[in-house]
């Protein structure tokens, strides 16, 4: 093959050798992102609903917990929970990937709950009045009227959070989960080929998140009308 020669800092052999290793690491990145998104989407909705229906002081406690999670760095939360499990003999051993995925999910759930809340608030007053006028029970009304309308306003921002979450998965590095960036770091260190490894890591991120954000934008448009 006849590649241009800038061998001082770039080796195509190294790049091709690194690619499958990085893709293996990328598998963990995808697991953390997809499962994390599912956790965040469900837990976020639950938080948003609970904040609407819970009375007084429990509501206040939940708000406090949400504010706490939202206002501390994800990496601190990851390390805290990771060492909580690692250092505490009473607790069972949990794989770092599981801890990491769960924590990313919880972290982003606090953001997504805010999107859900805004979505629910965007349902016009007249809809609630029609619900009352038909005597629909609250649970049914929420599922059939409020949530479907709220989701139209919420889904685009949930998608944006999923992409943001995807780009936050390198934090799992801190708790030694071998995801994309960790595997790039390891390959780079072993072969002294950081340029190749991190260039590829960046390209893989780009290749995955750019089409996703285009997809979200399309979804946003198609959701704009009934």
């Amino acid at each position: 093959m006849n590649f241009p020669d800038f061998s001082d800092f770039w080796s195509w052999e190294r790049a091709f050798e690194a690619l499958p290793i990085l893709l293996r690491g990328f598998g963990n990145t995808l697991i953390a992102t997809v499962l994390g998104t599912i956790i965040a989407a469900i837990l976020g909705l639950l938080i948003a609903v609970l904040l609407r229906v819970l009375p007084g002081w429990i509501d206040w406690l939940l708000k406090l917990a949400v504010a706490f999670v939202r206002n501390t760095p994800l990496v601190v939360q990851l390390l805290f929970v990771y060492y909580l499990f690692a250092m505490n003999p009473v607790l069972i051993e949990v794989p770092a990937l599981v801890i990491g995925t769960a924590m990313i999910g919880v972290h982003y759930a606090t953001y997504m709950s805010e999107s859900y809340r805004a979505g629910i608030d965007s349902v016009p007053k007249g809809q609630w009045e029609a619900i009352s006028a038909l005597s629909l029970p609250p649970g049914r009304a929420f599922r059939s009227v409020v949530l479907p309308q709220a989701l139209r306003a919420t889904i685009p921002s949930l998608g944006n959070y999923a992409v943001a979450m995807f780009k936050d998965t390198p934090f799992l590095f801190a708790i030694s989960v071998v995801e994309l960036v960790t595997s790039a770091q390891q390959y780079g260190a072993r072969n002294f080929a950081y340029t190749e490894a991190f260039t590829l890591a960046g390209l893989i991120f780009l290749a995955a998140s750019y089409p996703t954000s285009l997809l979200i934008r399309r979804m946003e448009k198609s959701l704009a009308q009934y």
Binding site: G126, Q127, E129, A130, S132, A133, L134, S135, L136, P137, R140, S144, V145, P148, Q149, R152, Q225, Y226
Partner: protein, 276 residues
């Protein structure tokens, strides 16, 4: 008027004995305040079963608030409302005014339907889904039964071919007719019509009013109507109540109120409305 208000009525009971003679709606010393603004004060009136009553009066006189109180979209600040003799939102228990639990209130509001100025159809559902939602999930009807009923009602309001459309594809007049059908799908004993033609283009008003005229002729649903369409009020109602400043100024058959009002305030209001 029989007093069914013994103060000992158990929640959920329909009141002692006098079921046949209870008014469909009874306001007793009702007061509604928004902050310092008293919208209704010490309001007392009854509507008999099957009676169709139009509420008229200048805007801000409390007509719409009365409908919203009956539909429990607003809560009254004092007094009681009775539906078919049993308390709607509050009852007198051991001499104290006590709120009824939400589930209890919903059981009462099931007998009441409301059509809004802004239609308020569910945009995420088709026309048919709008009509079967409450019959299925409030009355427990099967989907087949609810759908059959919905089709019958859509036929009545002249929209049989719109069953699978979403509301956004319909004109305002069509949406309002769907909203009327949706309210009727619950077989209400009481129907509240809140300025149902005010948001419509003039050429669409008649379609909606004709549907309601026909309904008034065919059924014995108790109706409370807030409207500025005086001809329609004359056509369908047996009784007109003129409101001013949250109180009833005049109460009588439409012929009397429209042609021979007792109060100058009523005469002024009517000539202002008819001039439009």
């Amino acid at each position: 008027m029989p007093s069914t208000d013994s103060g000992l009525t158990a929640p959920g009971s329909t009141g002692p004995g006098s079921v046949g003679s209870d008014p469909a709606i009874r306001f007793q010393d009702v007061e509604k305040r928004f902050g310092d603004n008293v919208v209704l004060k010490n309001l007392n009136f009854s509507v008999q079963p099957g009676e169709r009553v139009t509420l008229i009066g200048p805007s801000g006189s409390g007509k719409t608030t009365i409908l919203r109180l009956i539909m429990t979209l607003e809560s009254l600040t004092d007094g009681f409302i009775y539906i078919n003799g049993s308390p709607l939102t509050h009852e007198e228990r051991n001499g104290r005014r006590t709120a009824l639990p939400p589930r209890e209130v919903r059981r009462k509001t099931r007998q009441i339907g409301m059509v809004f100025q802004q239609f308020n159809l569910f945009p995420n559902m088709t026309v048919a889904e709008n009509l079967i939602e409450a019959p299925m999930h409030v009355l427990g009807m099967s989907k087949a039964d609810a759908l059959a009923k919905a089709r019958g009602l859509l036929d009545k309001v002249g929209l049989a071919d719109k069953e699978n459309e979403h509301p956004s594809r319909l004109s305002g007049g069509q949406q309002q007719r769907v909203a009327i059908a949706r309210a009727l799908a619950m077989d209400p004993e009481i129907l509240l019509l809140d300025e149902v033609t005010s948001a419509l283009d003039p050429e669409l008003v008649d379609d909606v009013l004709n549907v309601l005229r026909r309904l008034a002729g065919e059924t014995d649903i108790t109706m409370l109507i807030v409207t500025h369409e005086m001809q329609f009020a004359k056509d369908v109602s047996q009784r007109v109540m003129m409101f001013d400043n949250g109180a009833i100024l005049e109460d009588g058959p439409p012929e009397e109120i429209f042609t021979n009002p007792r109060h100058e305030r009523t005469a002024k209001f009517l000539s202002a409305v008819l001039d439009q």
